[in-house]
């Protein structure tokens, strides 16, 4: 069986998911997100749906936002303000890695059950999308650092973007105008909030955000 080039690069994304589960420092996690952002927004170019000019513009816009602007701004943010560099795991790194492996197996198994004709040529596409989605949620729940949580959220969005852009033209239109607004708005607001959390609490450990119970 000949591996499609898209699958080769997606296998790297799967590895990066494992890496993100094992890394303890924020800069590493940011690089993983940037890499995933770039790959995920490049994939639509290699998958045979017709692209009109608008589609190309959107794809490049996502590439720049996901791959460059967001990671850069978070990177600058943690440089400028003295935010802790540790991701402060709730679930330890070894346990996280094991979860990650299990997740990839489960994602591959699940996507075999679901038969989507338009992307059946690309073996790793749907598994990667599921893995990104669930891995993002995992980081959201299993890390205490607020920036790590935001990065987890972006990883989740990358997963949705990967499904949406590749399944069909119609779905791509949805994620195109949906996700841009989503990313811009969500992250901007989160950044502002983070800044304020910083000011109020001195660091972004959300364990400090535990006065309201339940």
């Amino acid at each position: 069986m000949i591996l499609h080039p898209v699958d080769t690069i997606l296998s790297l994304v799967l590895l990066s998911v494992l890496f993100s589960f094992g890394t303890s420092r924020l800069p590493g996690l940011i690089k993983v997100i940037a890499f995933q952002g770039i790959v995920v927004s490049m994939v639509p170019f290699f998958i045979g749906h017709d692209m009109n000019a608008g589609g190309i513009v959107f794809t490049f816009a996502t590439l720049i936002i996901r791959g460059i602007i967001i990671p850069m701004s978070i990177y600058v943010a943690i440089k400028k303000v003295a935010i802790k560099r540790e991701v402060e795991p709730i679930i330890g790194f070894h346990a996280s890695m094991l979860c990650g492996l299990g997740l990839i197996v489960a994602a591959t198994y699940t996507s075999r059950q679901l038969n989507i004709p338009s992307i059946s040529d690309y073996t790793l596409l749907f598994p990667t999308a599921i893995a990104l989605l669930v891995a993002g949620m995992f980081l959201l729940m299993a890390r205490r650092n607020a920036i790590a949580m935001v990065l987890g959220y972006i990883m989740m969005e990358n997963g949705i973007y990967l499904v949406g852009t590749t399944i069909s033209v119609r779905a791509r239109h949805i994620v195109e105008f949906g996700i841009l607004l989503d990313v811009l708005a969500g992250v901007m607001i989160m950044a502002i909030i983070l800044q304020n959390i910083k000011r109020t609490f001195d660091d972004v450990d959300t364990a400090n955000l535990r006065t309201l119970k339940e």
């Binding site: 989507i116 004709p117 338009s118 989605l133 949620m137 959201l140 607020a146 949580m149 959220y153 989740m156 969005e157 949705i160 499904v163 949406g164 399944i167 069909s168 119609r170 779905a171 949805i174 994620v175 105008f177 949906g178 996700i179 607004l181 989503d182 708005a185 969500g186 607001i189 989160m190 909030i193 304020n196 959390i197 109020t200 609490f201 959300t206 955000l209 006065t211 309201l212 339940e214």
Partner: protein
């Protein structure tokens, strides 16, 4: 034409950010009045939208729109009085966000396109986040952070759900616009498996916003930290808007003949919410959190009613309207209690019947209404839901439903009695004069609810029936 209803508050909202305090307060009330007028006009004439691929006037949308409009107008009158009594920094941001929030919620009620609906619900999160952060304390910051994070995840799930619905169209070879009304017509040809997947994700996504358990965790914090007028809006209308997204998707499911599937899921989520509310309401020591849990309960009730269908779906609609009216009045009264006693804990209040008699009338009246006593509408709605559950053989559902309602009533009553009749520290002075504009909005809301029980105008009745027929409901 239709678009004017949400464009007007959008423009005035942006203007309000730049105006001095006094004028922006007037603008708030003026926008409320204009919006109410426009909504009534819309109700009467039901015009076509200019962008009719994206917007449409639907019966369920109209119902929500009218509720939003009436509530906002009354709340805006209260807000002006509330702002005079309380100290809020950067008041322009508060009033501006309130108006923008109105605009985004109006857009939700009028949207017909799946993505326009999604964008509008996303926009409600953006517009309401500053409202929760109004007090700028660390607790309100935590509540805002939780709200934005959890709702963003929810909205992302809803996006994935929308993607799955397009996949259902592709696999079923359907060529139709991506609007709820068009999809409802071609629902039979959609691929059922992906339609189901889409529904589940949309339910989880918008359900987060609606406050269904177990995704409800942001709700008590946000409602208790926001200033009372904002909590009244959040609870009274925002939750309905999110429900509208679920309702419209459920319409597609019903048309596709998958209503058993969607109904079961709605019942499960609804019961979980009612149970969660029953568990947590018993030990609440803050009155605004208590009201927030009661909102979760009512959203659960509405979800259960929608899930059962038939006469229960009609009951759910009745519950939705009356819950909005009564709960927003309760939140406004809780604002008076907060201003009066200067404390959010139940144990530091007390003897409200003598110390704040006018607020007491509104608060106690609201409590009687929300806990489902006759003659208020919640009673009628819950009655329909229980009858519907028995008719369709959902005996266990009905059992859990009734039992939880009893527990919630007991917990709620206990706390309300403490606030109203317990001895309070007599040295403490009440820091609030009960001006007319601080109590009349609540009275009017409760009266509206009361009147609707005895006399429902034909046009309103017909609109409710039109709305629920599409999901297999009705009075038969």
């Amino acid at each position: 034409m239709v678009e004017i209803v949400f464009l007007t508050p959008f423009i005035t909202g942006i203007i309000a950010f730049f105006l001095p305090k006094a004028i922006s307060r007037k603008l708030l009330v003026a926008t409320g009045a204009i919006h109410l007028f426009l909504s009534l006009f819309l109700w009467k004439n039901r015009p076509e939208a200019i962008f009719n691929n994206y917007f449409a006037v639907t019966p369920e949308g109209l119902l929500s729109l009218l509720v939003i409009s009436l509530l906002f107008f009354l709340i805006s009158i209260y807000t002006v009085a509330y702002l005079k009594e309380s100290e809020i920094q950067k008041e322009n941001i508060f009033t501006g966000s309130m108006i923008l929030f109105l605009s985004t919620m109006t857009m939700v009620t009028l949207s017909d396109h799946i993505m326009v609906m999604w964008i509008a619900i996303e926009a409600t999160t953006l517009a309401s986040a500053p409202l929760i952060y109004t007090h700028r304390s660390s607790a309100s910051l935590e509540a805002t952070w939780k709200y934005v994070l959890i709702c963003s995840v929810g909205i992302a799930m809803a996006l994935l759900g929308s993607v799955f619905i397009t996949l259902a169209m592709d696999i079923g070879n359907v060529d139709a616009p991506l609007s709820f009304s068009a999809l409802t017509q071609v629902a039979k040809t959609l691929d059922p498996m992906w339609l189901k997947a889409g529904f589940v994700f949309i339910l989880v996504g918008y359900g987060t916003k609606m406050g269904l358990a177990p995704m409800h965790t942001w709700l008590p914090d946000a409602h208790s930290e926001a200033p009372s007028p904002a909590s009244a809006l959040l609870s009274g209308v925002l939750l309905n808007c999110a429900y509208l997204g679920i309702f419209k998707t459920n319409k597609i499911m019903h048309a596709a003949g998958l209503n058993d599937f969607s109904g079961t899921i709605l019942i499960v989520f609804g019961l979980m919410s009612i149970l969660a509310a029953a568990t947590f309401i018993l030990k609440q020591n803050e009155y605004k959190r208590m009201l927030a849990y009661s909102s979760i309960e009512n959203m659960g009730i509405i979800a259960v009613g929608t899930g059962i269908g038939g006469i229960a779906a009609y009951g759910a609609m009745i519950c939705m309207i009356h819950h909005s009216l009564i709960k927003s009045s309760l939140f406004l009264s809780s604002g008076n209690i907060l201003l009066g006693y200067g404390d959010r804990f139940i144990k530091n209040t007390g003897d409200m019947v003598r110390r704040m008699p006018k607020t007491f009338v509104a608060f106690f009246g609201g409590f009687v209404g929300i806990s489902g006593f006759p003659p208020f509408g919640i009673f009628i709605g819950e009655m329909f839901i229980i009858v519907g559950a028995f008719r369709t053989g959902h005996y266990i559902t009905a059992g859990i439903f009734i039992l939880s309602l009893c527990v919630i009533f007991a917990g709620f009553a206990n706390q309300v009695m403490k606030i109203s009749f317990d001895d309070s520290d007599s040295n403490k002075t009440i820091g609030l004069k009960e001006k007319a504009s601080l109590v009349w909005p609540q009275y009017i809301l409760l009266l509206t609810s009361l009147i609707l029980c005895f006399y429902m105008p034909d046009t309103l009745y017909q609109t409710i029936i039109d709305a629920v027929t599409a999901i297999g409901g009705g009075l038969k």
